[in-house]
Symmetry: D2
Subunit: 347 residues, 4 copies
C-alpha cells in the first residue's frame, strides 16, 4: 500500500534530509525530485552537492532531476509532494501545483499564518488539517496545502501543548540555535567561531505567531490564536544541529515541577510511522545539565523533543527543551504531515 | 600618590587578569602576589602557567610568590588586597586578613549575600560601601571586606539599574556564557565543541539574589533587596570570552524602546580610573545582530557593558546585553571596587 | 560459540567505547567490567559517567564493577580481557593478569615496543601474533599480551602497508588530531577553541617507532623494524573525533598516483567480524577535499581507513588519510586483536 | 614627509585590514578608497560591512568610495596604491593603473610568478625589487608592480631563508590554516565546525612555486628559482586567524636544533616602519607546545613570524612556524612592500 511522492527543491539541505528520511520509508516511494532549471535533466548525483552523513541511496542517485513545475513532475504520477523550496520561490510555485490538484506538505515559511492554511504538528493539532476544506472553498483548489512550523517554534510547542492544561498566560523564550538552521551556507565560519549572534531575521516573529496558531482552537471555520503572550529572543551559536531553548512560562494555576514533568512525559504521541513512541523525553532534577544539543538531538532518530531543567519561579516555571532542527524541525515535520494527510484520507 | 596592593590567588586565571590590569595602573603598585603553599617561594614566572595574551610584566615575573596568609604578605606593606581565591579557600582565609586590618576587595563568591558585606558595582550602588561600618561593628574587624557580583550578574545589572526608573517588576534572563567563566580547566573541549550546556551550578541563584541586592536600597543599617521577581536560565556555549544575555523585563510603566535605549545610554558612569566614559554602549534598531561576544567584548577595554536589540513586547520589553566576563565580570570588577575604596577613604 | 570477555578500566572514555562495540557482538559476551577501587562494588551505571551517544546497554548498566585485579574478575570466568587502563596503571597491573594465565588485548601504550610483545593490526601483520610464543618462553606466562598501536599510528600504517610494495624509504607525516584522543578531560576548551596545538606529548615518537615495528618482519624469533625513516609532527585541533594525517612518502620506485590509489583500494582486509569489507576507502582526483573528519570518520562504522588527495611530488608522493581515533584507533583496534586471538587459537 | 596612498578594493576583508594598519601610519596618508561600481559614490561607512575589531577611523568613515579605475582615483593625487582586489579583477584592472604610471603594491595572486614581476618580502629578498627595471623595459610602463606572496607561503619562507645557510635541499610542509584566509564568506560554518578540510584550491602550488622564487637569486635580469624540492599539503581548520605550519627540511649539511634556532633568532629584520625588531621569535625545547595560533598570532602586532618545536630527524630537521595570515600574510605584507618601494626610491 504505497504512496508515490516527490520532493520540490530536492538538492538543498532540507531536500537532502527528505531523501535520507524517505529511504526505507514504510509507505512512501520517492518518484520525483525537482530543482532549479540549471539542475533539471542532470542525475540527482550530479545536481546535488551531497552533504548528509549517509550515502545517497542508490535508486535516488541516478534519478533524473525535474524542473520545479507541474509539467516537470507530470510523468512521475505522484500523489503527494514535499516542498523545501526557498519561501520566495515557494510562494510563486506552490499555487501552480495546488491548482493542478496536488497535495503539498510544505516546510517553506510562506503562508504559514494564512487563515485558510493548516499549520500542523500531527501530535499537537491534527484536527487543524480540516482547514483544508475551508482552503478548497476559498481558493477553488483541488489540491491541498499544509504547512509545518519553523524549526525554533516546533522545538517549543509540544512542551507548551503538554502543559497548557495549567493555563498558559505568558511565555518568554530564548533560543540557542544551530547553524544548520540557516542552510548550508547561511552562517559563515568567520561570523560564528568564538561568537554568538543575538538575532535571526524574522525568527522571533515566527515563534511568537506560529506558536499561538498551533496552540489555537479550530472551530470548523477558522483557527483562533491562543491568547498567551509570547515573546522570543533568538540566538545563533556555534553548534551544528539541534536547537536548545530556555522557556519561562506563567500560568493561571501554579503547577509544581513534578506536575510539569509528568504532563510532558505523558503527552500522547501520534500513531504515525515517523512519530516517536514517547514524544517528549524529560530529564529529571538529577541531570540538570541536559538536554544538550550534541548528546540529545538524535533522540527518537531526531523526531523527538527533549526537555529538562524544570523548576518553578516566583511567577511560574522555567525549563529547557531541544529538538533536531533539520529533522523534527524541517524535513521530518513535513514528512509527518504527509503521513497525517494519508491517514486522514487527503491522499 | 600610590597605593601598594597585593593579589591573593595570583597564579589562576583571574589572578593573571589582575596582573594584566594592574600593569601601568595610575595609582596601584603591585607589591605582593600569593598562591598555594606549593608555589610559595618560587618566582611568579615559575609558579604561574601564564595564559593571558600579553606577556608577564617584567617586574612581576621575578616577584617571589608568598603564602596566602597575613604572615605571607606581612613584609610587603600593602594597603589593599585583591582576592581571586576559590570560594572554598576564600571563606577560610579572608577573615584572617580582615582581622589583621587589611582591606580586601574580593571576587570570590562566598559571603556576597551576607547582610553586613557590601556587594558593589561602583557605577551602580557606591553608597552600599558604607555597609563596612556595620561590618566593623558586627565583626570587630579593623579591615574591610567588599565583594563584587558574579560575572553573569554584572553583565545585566547596569542595564537594569538604568531602566529601573520605569518600575521593574519582573525579569527573565537567559545567558549565553563563555567557557572562561569556569576557569582555565572548567569546561573540557569534549563537553562543549558542537554543543551547549543549559546549566551552570549555582549560577542561576546567584543572578536571582545578587541582582536584587545590587539594586536594593541601603538605609544606613541594611540593604533591602529590590522586590522585582528575577528568574534566570544559564547556558554555557562554545565562546572563549564575553557573556551575552537575553533580558525580558516587565515594568510598572510601559517605556518605549527609545525610552529604554536613552535611559541606558545616558546612565552615568563613575569617576574612577578604570570606569568607562560611557558605561553602557547601546546599539540601535539598525544593528539588531549586535552585541556579539567576539566583536563587542573589548568595548572600553573590557570594562563596559554593551546592549542592543531593545524591543517592546506585549507585557514589557526585551533586549540583549554583554560584558567581558573575566575583565568587567571578575578582575576588573574587584579592581574598580578597590578604586572606590580609595576614593571613599577606606584605604 | 561464544567467548566470555572482560574490560579492564571500563568506565573511562575508551572503556565506554568497548562496551558500545561489544553490544551485539557476534561472539563476545561481556562478563566483567573493572575500574579503580573507588568504583568497585557500584553498578556500572553508578560508576561510569556515560558520555557515548548511544544508551548504556541494559545488561551492562546493572553489572557490578569489579576491582582491577585477577581476584576481582575471578568469578566471572572470562577467557579474554580488553585493557584500556592508563599506561601507568597498566604497566603495573597487566602482568598480574598474565601470570594468572589471562589473554589480554591491550590498548595501553606501555610495552608496545617490547621485543617480545606483539604489536598488531590484524589486516596488516597478523603473523606477528606468534611472538606470543617468544613472550611465553621469556616471561613464563601462561597468558598472552598483545598490543595495538597508538591512534595516530593506526591511521597511517594501513596505507603505508598498502604502498610498501613500491619500496618505502622515508615518511614525513603531519597529524591533525581530534580532542577525544586525549580522553574526556585531556584538552580544555580554553586551550583549543580558535586554536591548534603543535605538540602531543610522546605522540611523535610513538608514530616513529610503532609504525616501523608494524611494518617490520617477524622471523619467528624477533620483529625487525622496517628501515624507512619516519618523522612525525603531531597537532591537536578543534575536532571531536577523527584523526586526519598528511603523509609525504619517498620510494625506491616512483609509483603514479593511480598506482598508489589502486594499491590502497585493493589492499586486502581480514576475515574477522569487526574488519571492514574494504579496509581503505580512497577518494579520487575529483574529490580532493576529502577525507574530512566529520564526514568520513564513520566509514565502515568507524573501523575503516579513508584516504585521498594522492599526488606525486618531485621526490615521491603525498596523500591524506583518516580514521576514527576512538574506534579504529583504540577500542576497535583491541577488539579486532581479540578476534584475531580467537581465530588463531590463543583464546 | 608623507606619501599619499590609495587602496584598490577597500571594502573587503583585506581592504579593511589595510585601513586598520594605515591608521596612524608614520608616512602614509590614505587619500583614496575604491570598490566595485555599486559602492562607488557612497561613503566608506555605507559601502563597507565593517568587521575588524577596532572602529572605522573617523576620517575614513566619511570618505567617498571611488570606482576602481585610474579615472576614479585621478583627483586623489596618490603616489602609491595598495591592491587587495580579487585576482580575477586585479588581472584586468592593475595594468590600467600601471600604464598610467601608478606604483602598485599588490596582494592579489595574479602575476606573482611572472618573470618580470618582483615577488618580495622586504626582510628576505629586497633586492628583487629591481626587477622593476626589467618590468618597465618589457611592458613600457611608467608605473611599477610589486607582489607579495600568498599567506601560507609568507609564514614559512622567512624561516627557510634563515636556515638556507645549511643548504636546503627538500621541504615538506603541512599547513593548518585559519578560515579568515578564505575571506569573510569563504568557509561556511557547516563546513568547518568539528571538522578539517585537507585541500585549499591552488594553495599547494602557490607554496611550492612562490617559495622557490622568494628564495631564488636575482642576477639583474631574472630571478632563478631556488632548486630545493618543495611539497605542500594544505589544510583548513576551525581557527579564525593565524596559519600554523609543520616543516620537514632536508639539508646539504646537518645542522643541530640549536644551530637552526640560532639562525632563525638572529635573522636580520628590515629597517622599515612596519618591520618587527626581531623578525622570527623562536620558542625553545621547554615550550614544545608553542607557537599556537590564538596565543602567538599577535606577536609584533601580527607582523612577526613565530617558530618552535625545532628537532632533528633521521634525514634533516622538523619545526613549526606561524604568522598572522591577514596581517603579515596579506595587508601587512603589501604595506611593507610599499614601505620598501618608498625606501628604494620607486615612490
Amino acid at each position: 500500500m504505497s504512496v508515490r511522492v516527490g520532493i520540490l527543491g530536492a538538492t538543498g539541505a532540507v531536500g537532502q534530509r527528505f531523501i535520507q528520511l524517505l529511504d526505507d520509508h514504510p509507505t512512501f516511494d520517492l518518484a520525483a525530485v525537482t530543482a532549479s532549471s540549471e539542475s533539471a535533466g542532470k542525475t540527482y548525483r550530479e545536481a546535488a552537492k551531497w552533504r548528509v552523513n549517509t550515502p545517497i541511496p542508490d535508486d535516488v542517485a541516478g534519478m533524473e532531476v525535474a524542473e520545479t513545475s507541474p509539467a516537470g513532475v507530470a510523468d512521475a504520477d505522484v500523489d503527494l509532494l514535499f516542498s523545501s523550496l526557498p519561501s520566495s520561490v515557494a510562494s510563486e510555485v506552490e499555487p501552480d501545483f495546488l491548482e493542478e490538484g496536488y497535495v503539498v506538505s510544505s516546510n517553506s515559511s510562506n503562508d504559514r499564518m494564512a487563515a485558510d492554511v493548516p499549520l500542523t504538528i500531527p501530535e499537537i493539532n491534527p484536527g487543524h488539517l480540516d482547514l483544508i476544506e475551508v482552503q478548497r472553498d476559498e481558493r477553488g483548489w483541488d489540491g491541498a496545502l499544509v504547512k509545518n512550523p519553523n524549526c525554533s517554534t516546533i522545538t517549543m510547542v509540544p512542551t507548551l501543548a503538554a502543559i497548557d492544561e495549567f493555563g498558559l498566560e505568558s511565555i518568554h523564550v530564548s533560543t540557542l540555535q544551530a547553524v544548520s538552521g540557516a542552510g548550508y551556507s547561511g552562517v559563515t565560519s568567520m561570523e560564528i567561531i568564538d561568537n554568538a549572534i543575538p538575532h535571526i531575521g524574522g525568527e522571533e516573529e515566527k515563534m511568537e505567531t506560529e506558536s499561538r496558531k498551533l496552540l489555537g482552537e479550530f472551530d470548523g471555520a477558522a483557527v483562533h490564536l491562543h491568547d498567551a503572550d509570547v515573546a522570543a529572543s533568538c540566538n545563533r551559536i556555534p553548534t551544528l544541529d539541534g536547537h536548545l531553548e530556555n522557556v519561562f512560562a506563567e500560568f493561571a494555576e501554579a503547577p509544581s515541577p513534578e506536575d510539569l514533568r509528568e504532563a510532558m512525559r505523558s503527552f500522547e504521541s501520534a500513531d504515525l510511522p515517523s512519530s516517536p513512541d514517547q514524544l517528549i523525553k524529560v530529564y529529571g532534577d538529577d541531570e540538570p545539565e541536559r538536554p544538550q544539543p550534541r548528546l540529545d538531538r538524535t533522540y527518537a532518530d531526531g523526531m523527538g523533543i527533549v526537555a529538562g531543567g524544570v523548576q518553578t519561579t516566583d511567577d511560574g516555571a522555567k525549563y529547557n527543551c531541544l529538538a533536531h532542527n533539520t529533522i523534527r524541525g524541517a524535513a521530518g515535520a513535513s514528512l509527518l504531515n504527509g503521513e497525517l494527510l494519508v491517514e486522514e484520507g487527503y491522499v
